[in-house]
């Protein structure tokens, strides 16, 4: 496969990224504004030996994705807020069972059915805390169609490398936008495959982590017969309710992400090194942030943007670093509460001049909206 420039919709670029990363299983339930991902997968998967399954609901969709992953597939699903809510319980199983998979959440406006065709960035806390039981999660958020491609590859790489579900937090704007994308040639981007067990099959323990915090994962049907459980389990995957074991398990699930935090937390910065006005943005809102920063620079103000490419784990060190010269930090996001602004406040303290720009009526945030809070 050669490099190829194509005009793609964000949702299409996500599918291109997934296929590039080696995804061969998709299960989903159509929902606006993510449906193009299902449509594209239904077209493409049968052509490369992959599977497209249209399940009866989102609960079943992520169930099938987890099952297929344990059978050896790079597997994913796509949805939006209401469907993502339905996936939460089984997503917890993917965390507990350490099952690599990718969940695309093309965010739309709520609450409830809300404005089904309009954008939002209001699932940030649902992504972080939507499941019962305390747990870590990795979430990435694209600002461009090009990032829809490249970050989907990253999402699969993280899922495979760290044996975790990765949430891909797109939004209706980037999902439906069309831009030119230079698709890389085969082999140009690194593709990570899950670590496989070695050694005698009878000694294999699917939850016994190596020094890097990650346990090798076999596939059903191979030489390594193994057990995966949603219930509290020991290194061998069988039920184990001993308090010491339970504590070890919970710690291990958190620790493997903490250990690799610097590799996982991705940011981009635009004129941010000397910024006195720092705009902390993510997803589609990054675009308005960058336009606003350019306008401020034209006016002679030192403004810059820190884009949170990884939204979970939160980029606390990076926010701290780029805010060191800032007298004002602006956080634009398409939700009412300021879900990311709250995290920024945690890092910079209650005394910091943090200005929220929030949109929750289904309309995007414009550069002017950002400039207005600086007047």
């Amino acid at each position: 496969m050669e490099r190829e420039a194509r005009l793609l919709q964000g949702n299409q670029a996500i599918v291109e990224g997934a296929l590039y990363a080696g995804a061969r299983f998709y299960a989903g339930y159509p929902i606006t504004p993510s449906s193009e991902i299902a449509e594209e997968c239904s077209k493409r998967m049968p052509l490369n030996g992959g599977v497209y399954m249209q399940m009866e609901d989102e609960i079943a969709s992520i169930g099938a994705v987890i099952g297929a992953s344990l059978a050896g597939a790079k597997a994913f699903t796509a949805t939006s807020g209401p469907g993502f809510s339905l996936m939460q319980e089984n997503l917890g199983l993917a965390v507990m069972g350490e099952v690599p998979c990718v969940i695309i959440d093309v965010q739309r406006s709520g609450p409830s059915t809300g404005l089904a065709t309009k954008p939002a960035q209001s699932d940030i806390m649902q992504i972080r805390w939507g499941r019962h039981g305390d747990q870590s999660i990795i979430a990435l958020s694209p600002a461009t169609v090009s990032e829809c491609f490249s970050l989907t590859v990253t999402a699969f790489n993280f899922a495979e490398k760290f044996r975790v579900p990765v949430i891909f937090a797109a939004d209706e704007v980037v999902g439906h936008m069309r831009e030119n994308v230079l698709l890389p040639a085969a082999g140009e981007l690194e593709i990570v495959d899950r670590k496989k067990p070695a050694g005698p099959p009878e000694d294999y323990k699917p939850f016994k982590a190596d020094e890097d915090g990650i346990a090798p994962l076999a596939s059903y049907g191979g030489d390594y017969v193994f057990h995966v459980s949603s219930s509290m389990h020991g290194p061998d995957g069988y039920s184990n309710n001993d308090p010491a074991n339970a504590a070890w398990r919970v710690e291990q699930l958190h620790r493997k992400i903490e250990m690799h935090r610097d590799e996982i937390v991705l940011t981009r910065d635009f004129d941010a090194e000397d910024a006195e006005i720092l705009i902390v943005a993510f997803g589609a809102t990054t675009r308005a942030g960058r336009a606003a920063a350019l306008e401020l620079r034209r006016q002679g103000l030192k403004a810059g943007v820190l884009q949170l490419v990884t939204i979970w784990p939160f980029a606390d060190k990076e926010v701290m670093r780029f805010a060191r010269n800032a007298r004002t930090v602006v956080v634009p996001e398409m939700n009412y509460s300021g879900q990311i602004a709250g995290e920024v406040r945690k890092v910079l303290g209650a005394g910091a001049d943090i200005r929220q720009v929030n949109s929750y009526n289904g309309e995007v945030i414009t550069p002017q909206d950002i400039l207005n809070v600086l007047k």
Binding site: P46, E56, A60, G63, G67, L70, G221
Partner: protein, 274 residues
């Protein structure tokens, strides 16, 4: 040839199991493992998927591949496994809560899709693990911890549901008719497409004692007397049926399964590309 014991699929050092005296789940597991052995299943090619509840604990006793899932969703995980690797034997063990109450949607769609899975359903007529509340298969009028005045709801007939939803194979058994049960489980495992074996196995701890079957023996006698071979049951006049139920094979057909049809899809896709 010596009789199959199924022991090679049983995890060592875990007996006695946790199920109550008089419960049919252990009988089902025994019949299942003997069936595996008689059919020559290898541990590596077999995946047992369980849900939540008393039946959902079965995977802890097995040394096949296993996936212990969330309540009601076992079939959806199993669907993903089978769709991606059609070579695997995928068996789903569920209770009546898992299969047709919280998980009813997955049950009818697995049957409609005719995905090549074997669903073994222990119907103990209540939620046993949580202390005996009524489920979607508790008979109307029956007494449980949440229906002390009699269950106001009607119950599902699991086999009839599986049949109309499109399963290729449907059978009902009981822990009393253990050899017949094993025959039905073997047939279900061997059948391409979605197959269901329901096992009437009233909960001895919560259900029987509240519904005029004080002792385990009373329940076994009920299964023995009221369980009639399907052919015999069909010939009974409605007035003679009087609480009887059909056991044995109820549905046996050979509709194309999901993986077969999806493979056709792939061929169509590839042909249309050139």
């Amino acid at each position: 040839m010596s009789h199959a014991t199924g022991r090679k699929y049983l995890r060592s050092g875990v007996l006695p199991h946790l199920w109550c005296p008089g419960c049919g789940i252990g009988v089902m597991v025994g019949a299942l493992l003997r069936s595996f052995e008689e059919l020559g299943y290898e541990r590596r090619d077999t995946v047992v998927v369980t849900g939540i509840g008393c039946t959902g604990k079965a995977d802890d006793y097995l040394v096949t591949n296993a996936l212990h899932t969330t309540h009601g969703r076992a079939l959806s995980f199993a669907t993903g496994i089978k769709a991606f690797n059609p070579q695997l034997h995928v068996v789903v063990l569920m209770g009546d809560g898992d299969s047709v109450t919280i998980g009813g949607n997955h049950f009818i769609h697995a049957a409609r899709r005719n995905i090549d899975l074997t669903a073994i359903v222990i119907n103990n007529f209540n939620y046993g693990m949580t202390g005996g509340q009524f489920s979607g298969t508790t008979p109307c009028g029956a007494f449980t911890q949440t229906s002390i005045y009699g269950n106001p709801e009607r119950d599902f007939d699991i086999c009839a549901l599986a049949e109309v939803a499109g399963a290729n194979y449907v059978a009902r058994g009981t822990p009393y008719h253990v050899w017949d049960l094993q025959t039905n489980i073997k047939e279900a495992l061997s059948k391409k497409g979605f197959s269901v074996v329901e096992i009437y196995s009233p909960c001895p701890t919560h259900f029987g004692k509240n519904n005029s079957m004080k002792e385990t023996l009373d329940m076994l006698n009920w299964l023995k007397e009221k369980g009639r071979p399907a052919e015999e049951y069909k010939k009974l006049r409605p007035s003679e049926r009087d609480g009887c139920f059909a056991i044995g094979k109820l549905v046996d057909r050979d509709e194309q399964d999901f993986n077969f049809r999806y493979q056709k899809n792939r061929e169509t896709a590839l042909a249309s590309k050139v």
